[in-house]
Symmetry: none
Subunit: 190 residues, 4 copies
């Protein structure tokens, strides 16, 4: 297991260093001070390795910060997503978009995990807002939850990292808050 951890770290480091497209199995093995054998014993290919490394990396979840308002919590959440995308995780997302894992079901799960962890954060934010009485429980649907993760991820795929703060605020104010029935704050005077 210590080997597995070293491989994951090497994978993430290479993702960050050269990106998904130029990441090589040889390179990962070398950085992890092991041989390709050890990689192929565990994962059938590059895409599977990257998927595993990323799932491992997003596993450690801290509680989303509580700012007192749904808007503040959402801004905090999208900021976390945007920050993660600006690194190894983002590169993995690009790779998983393009390539197929050996097992189709595994592919589905890996792609799901790209936004899944972010979904859970947003869901927590919404639950808090319902408890606070800021939004109605009925307005919380899977689509409403997924909205923020998807839009931020798309922004990354289309325009790269880092995502400007203004875009994050727009996503929260012009899309997410209206969908859950909260009036966005008046735009600041330009």
């Amino acid at each position: 297991m210590v080997l597995e951890r070293a491989i994951f770290e090497a994978t993430l480091a290479d993702l960050e260093a050269v990106g998904y497209a130029r990441l090589t199995m040889d390179g990962v093995a070398h950085r992890a001070r092991t041989g390709k054998t050890s990689l192929y014993l565990r994962w059938p290919g590059k895409a599977d390795l990257v998927a595993a490394a990323v799932e491992h990396a997003v596993a450690d979840q801290s509680e989303p910060s509580d700012t007192g308002t749904i808007r503040g919590d959402l801004l905090a959440a999208v900021t976390v997503i945007a920050t993660r995308l600006d690194g190894a995780f983002g590169e993995a997302v690009r790779g998983l978009a393009a390539e197929t894992l050996a097992d189709p079901e595994r592919t589905r799960r890996a792609r799901e995990s790209v936004v899944g962890w972010a979904d859970r954060r947003v869901a927590t934010v919404f639950e808090r807002a319902v408890r606070r009485g800021e939004i109605a429980a009925a307005s919380v649907s899977p689509w409403a939850i997924r909205l923020a993760p998807v839009l931020v991820t798309h922004e990354y795929l289309a325009h790269g990292a880092p995502i400007p703060e203004a875009a994050l605020a727009d996503i929260v104010d012009q899309v997410v808050l209206p969908v859950v029935g909260v009036a966005p704050p008046p735009p600041a005077a330009a």
Copy 2:
């Protein structure tokens, strides 16, 4: 130019046949009955070629169909997007998400064009709805326009093609219509 057209057609055909990941320059050249030289004379690599082929393919725009209501028009629009994604275009989207073109600015433009053409369709739908008085002009923002293309594209990237009709309807009813201030129809009894 006749050669260029043949290359584009070969590229799209191969995208459809084997997908982006297994598309090869040799393969495209062979199908277009030309040599690799002619490809590299025009584009520096596979990603650039695919980007050009796709931009060429999405260029021919028909007018979005007018069903009489914003909901009908939106459903028609997302269906067109979903249909395009289930083919060469979709495969190109995957490739462009993962790979970088030779020129960064060109990369940005290519990625923009992935949803740009769909944006224009949705914008037309919204303009009609404003004229009909279904929605307020103020509720039409770039984010509102981009919403449908992004969500459909994400659905494709995450779950593959074809996208179920129910998902398309959900995107329209639960996200887009609320954001532009239209009450969605009551859910049909299951």
Copy 3:
């Protein structure tokens, strides 16, 4: 080493089949049931591969046949040279004449080996003749030894294979024997 042997055999077979100019690395690799990588791991290019294959092929030396007279022995020797030239070895000679190996010193050695093995055969013939008392030890110089191999090789380069027997006899009777001080036999009545 078993792989190396297979590569040499494939190289010689292709030399014989298509000649030096149309021998390709791909072709050799395919015939040897290996990949180009394995070729380039060992030799920097086509010329080096062919040089190595030829040196390997001429390495197995049988004792020059002993006919009892210097003239008979020389005729046997030039016949062996001529026979070798009419095959893979001859094609390699053409290639080595025109192309340069990666390493200049290696080039010199490879070109030397083209006639070197034949020199050694002729030297043995001369030693026997000295022991028999047919020729004086003083008349055996490096130039006298090299004479036959060079003339036969030139005949091949200029007029191709197979070299007519009459030409071989002329080389022995009109050039080599006079140089070592043996009167050639009177020309057969035409």
Copy 4:
């Protein structure tokens, strides 16, 4: 014809600059300030072009210098041959050894011309020696004539240019003079 001359000069210049193996039709055309069309209109390929250029170059024959003795004349002759080989002509010889022209008969003639012009020089030297009474007319055979050109050319092919003067002297003293029945001078004390 002025164009033809320019092409020949460009060919010889490129032979001298980069050697036969790396000479390209594009390169010659560019240096001659013409297009490839003009080359292929006249010669079917690189080997034919080089053969023609070389035949053109060796055409201008000066009378072999008369030093008063056969040995001096022979030394002068082999020096001329060695000098020519150390340049474009030598590179062409390498090419013609390896490659085949479009027309086999043409190939034969081209290869013949490599040593043919030198043969004629040596023949003249021998005629003079016969007139002087240095050698017997009977000892002048085609093989005796060809000996010097072949040995010098081989020395070039095997060891490259420039050929050391000592080797040229050895060829004359140890091989050619003995064959025509002239006792070579005693070796100089080292």
